[in-house]
Structure formats: structure tokens, C-alpha cells
């Protein structure tokens, strides 16, 4: 399996490569070459830092035109997820135009009181999980039908039940590591939620067709993160 990690000087790619290595993937390619990216079986799109500089770097590499044309399973991580949206409040006056691949606008957390800090930093639990990306996690699984991935979901569950697939470590709770000041609101594209403040959900995961994104650092989220990453590598993600 060929795995491409997109390199656009946009963040902590090394951590993603190491996370893949821990799962036994040693041949992942760090690249900004459209030809290499197109040929990969899976594409990972990490991102950290600030939205407008990330978009500038993507445009400079011509990747803003390439990414929307990809057809293999694709996973944006953290800022890499946010960049899939239409617009972000982050950036110089007026914010930043994003890739426009998913119909959400990224906004800044507005804490209700001094006890709620921004960035939203630390371990938070996922809920309302959908799609095979999250198959096997202990949270409440909601097989979605509106986006048509029911069958993929069932296959992943069956594969897991038959013992053919992924999970190796028992997972008590679906806590993953977040660090972000901006978020995508919940919408039809949302496939996982987390809440901050408590009771106020935002998109922890998004999907449109083959394009998936997670707001949390899947590469730094302990056994839960490794489980999700393994699902991404081996699951039927349509």
C-alpha cells in the first residue's frame, strides 16, 4: 500500500510519519508532488499553525488545485481538516478563504467564562461517531444512512467481529488529544463530535465522499488515535 503524507511546510509531518511507523508503515512518502499524491492508496494531510500561511503554502505548491481532484481515501488532520472548509475566521482582516471542499465555515471559540481557556487543549471524548473511520470505538456508534456509508460501516464491524481486522488494544473510552482555537460547527458533513464547553458540540470529524478530516491530533492520541489511524489505513472508506 502506498501512503502519501502531504508536505507543504504546514506543520508537524514528522509526528505523522512516526505514528505510521509505529503501526508498521515504513514506506510512507512525504511529498508535494501531485503525481505521487495521485498514485497513493491513502493520502494524509497534516496541518498546524495558522490558516492563511498554510493556504499560501498550498497555493504556492499548486496543491489547492490538486487536492479536490483526488479520489482515494484522504484524511486531513487538525488544521488539515479545517482547510477543507470554505472560510476561516483565522487570518488577517476578514479571515482566510479555504479549499472549499466541504461546506463549513471555521470560527473561533468564544469562551463563556474565564474557566474556559482558548486554545481548547487537552484530551476530550468523541461522541456521535459515524463511518468506518471510527469502527470499533466504544463510543455510541451511529450508523449513518444519509451519506450512504452504511454498508462500509457494516463491513468494518463484521470484519472486526470476525477477528480479521484491526483493534489490538482494549479501548475504555474515546479520548483524543485536541489543540485548536478555531473549529468547524456541526453539520451534515459531521462524522464525530466533541464538546467544548461541555454540552456544546463541534465537529471533531468530517466527511464528504473520500475526503475525511479529524480536528484532533490522531497521531498523538494514544491507543485511540492509533486505532483510528489503523481504520483509515485498512477500512473500507468508500
Amino acid at each position: 500500500m502506498n501512503i502519501a503524507v502531504i508536505d507543504y511546510q504546514g506543520g508537524n509531518v514528522q509526528s505523522v510519519l512516526f505514528a505510521l511507523e509505529r503501526l508498521g508503515v515504513t514506506n510512507a512518502v512525504l511529498t508535494s508532488d501531485p503525481a505521487v499524491i495521485r498514485q497513493a492508496d491513502r493520502v494524509l494531510f497534516p496541518g498546524e499553525g495558522e490558516a492563511s500561511s498554510a493556504m499560501r503554502a498550498l497555493r504556492a505548491a499548486g496543491l489547492d488545485k490538486v487536492l479536490p481532484t483526488l479520489t482515494q481515501p484522504f484524511l486531513g488532520i487538525c488544521l488539515g481538516m479545517q482547510l477543507l472548509g470554505r472560510h476561516s475566521e483565522e487570518g488577517p482582516a476578514g479571515g482566510t478563504e479555504l479549499l472549499g471542499m466541504l461546506p463549513f465555515d471555521v470560527v473561533r471559540f468564544t469562551p463563556p467564562d474565564a474557566a474556559h481557556k482558548v486554545p481548547h487543549m487537552g484530551w476530550n471524548n468523541l461522541h456521535d461517531l459515524q463511518t468506518p473511520l471510527f469502527a470499533g470505538l466504544g463510543g455510541q456508534l451511529v450508523p449513518g444512512d444519509k451519506l450512504g456509508f452504511q454498508s462500509g460501516f457494516n463491513q468494518a464491524v463484521e470484519a472486526r467481529q470476525s477477528g480479521n481486522s484491526l483493534p489490538h488494544q482494549p479501548i475504555a473510552a474515546d479520548y483524543v488529544y485536541f489543540v485548536h482555537s478555531y473549529y468547524a460547527p456541526v453539520g451534515d458533513y459531521t462524522i464525530a463530535q466533541a464538546s467544548y464547553p461541555a454540552g456544546v458540540p463541534f465537529s471533531a470529524g468530517v466527511r464528504y465522499r473520500n475526503f475525511y478530516g479529524v480536528q484532533f491530533h490522531v497521531e498523538k492520541s494514544g491507543p485511540v488515535g492509533e486505532h483510528i489511524l489503523r481504520n483509515f489505513l485498512t477500512g473500507d472508506l468508500g
Binding site: 505514528a19 509505529r22 499553525g49 486554545p119 481548547h120 487543549m121 489543540v179
Partner: protein, 261 residues
Amino acid sequence: MLTKRLIACLDVQNGRTVKGTNFVNLRDAGDPVALAARYAQEGIDELVLLDITATVEKRRTLIELVRNVAREVNIPFTVGGGIGAVADVEALLLSGADKVSLNSSVLRQPGLIDELARRFGSQAIVVAVDARQTNETAASPADEAWEVFTHGGRHPAGREAVAWCREAAERGAGEILLTSMSHDGTRDGYALGFTRAVAAAVGVPVIASGGAGAAPHFRDVLLPGGADAALAASVFHFGDLSVAGLKNYLLAEGVAMRPVG
């Protein structure tokens, strides 16, 4: 919900872990990569590597250590200790560190916080503040006076601590690592009033450090103390508290925690 974090701190010198009492009498507590991996497996939420090496080899050995930890460990970690140059921050982040912590360098040149936050994002920039109470006989927490110190607590920086934390956060620090030099190594508990004052003064997360000796100390600094995270070293290194035991205690005490297991 968002949980409070437990952070194990590994003080590193020449590639080995050390921890002192009030920053003297350093003792060897093992290999940092093995120790980091063990803590991650035991359920610690985050790690801090503080490098106290003061040789010309420092930069190379620290980058190598960061790579080795990032390769082994599947949770976030911060690296700090004598880091000042933008190029060093970049090299450490590119080697797999999630955050870099800065202390003396940003006291000398506060504008560096703005520059680093612009360049790498606030989420990657931690400002570490070592403070000492300068009127130990204060009648109440509101009367406590806290000054910033550098060089392991030897040199006063000429800054009032709460004001400096506020300035660091406003300049773009994504997190404050707050160490009470008056409590560090005592095992008598964290500086509660001081931590609460800083947590109320800044809009970013605060890590409390210095004084952890028993499980109730963690509860006190995370609940009434208002800290977002509690950092400790010796109580973990020497096995006084297990991560799982501490987390179970804190969960029972009503502290939001990522459960172990």
C-alpha cells in the same frame, strides 16, 4: 468533556533523566526515552522534557532525544530548557516535539513570544515561568508577592509573576508552565493561591508545577487551584504514585480525567 491533564516532567542532562530537590542534588532516574514510553503506556496525558545540559553539544543531543521520544511515544510532549533561537525552536518542532517551552530567553526579549507564535502558532509555544514568593509571611493569599526568577531560581528577573504571565499570554503564548520555586521539591503541595491567581489572569491553559507529594495535592491544584494541568516529576519517577492509581483517585474526587485502560 475536556479533561484535566497529568504531566510527567523528565529533567534531562546529557541524555539522562535527573531530578533534584530545589534544583540541586540531581539524581539519576533513568533513560528518558524508555521512561517517556513507559509513562505514555501507563496513561500519563502529556510529557515535558526539560533539558538542563549546558554544553556546546546541547543542540544536537536535544534534537536527537526529541526524535527518539517522538518515534516511541504516542502522546504529546513539550521540550524546554535554555532554548532561545528561532532556528532551534523550528528544529525541535520539525523533529517531532509538539510544543517548545521558553523561559529566560523570552524574559530577555519578550517580543520573541510574538515572533514564535506568529511563525509556529500559539499552540506550539509554552512560556515557562519560575516564580518565588518574596514575602513568605503573607497573611492571606491576596497579600502574597511573587517574583519571576531565572537560572534555577538564583537570579531575580525583575518581574512580578502574575503580570508577566498575563503579558506572555497576550503576546501569544499558548500555555503557561507555572513553577513555584518556593514549593518545588518540598512535596508539601502546589502553590494554590498563586496558581489560582495566574489561572484567573490568563485566557490560556495553565500547568501547575512544584510541590507535588501526594494525590490530594493534585486534586487541590486542579479544582480549587484552577490549573488545567498538573506537572510532577519525583512522585512519578520514584514510584510514590502510579498514574493509574492517581487518576482513579482524582476521578473519584470529581476531577475530569482521561481514564486509564
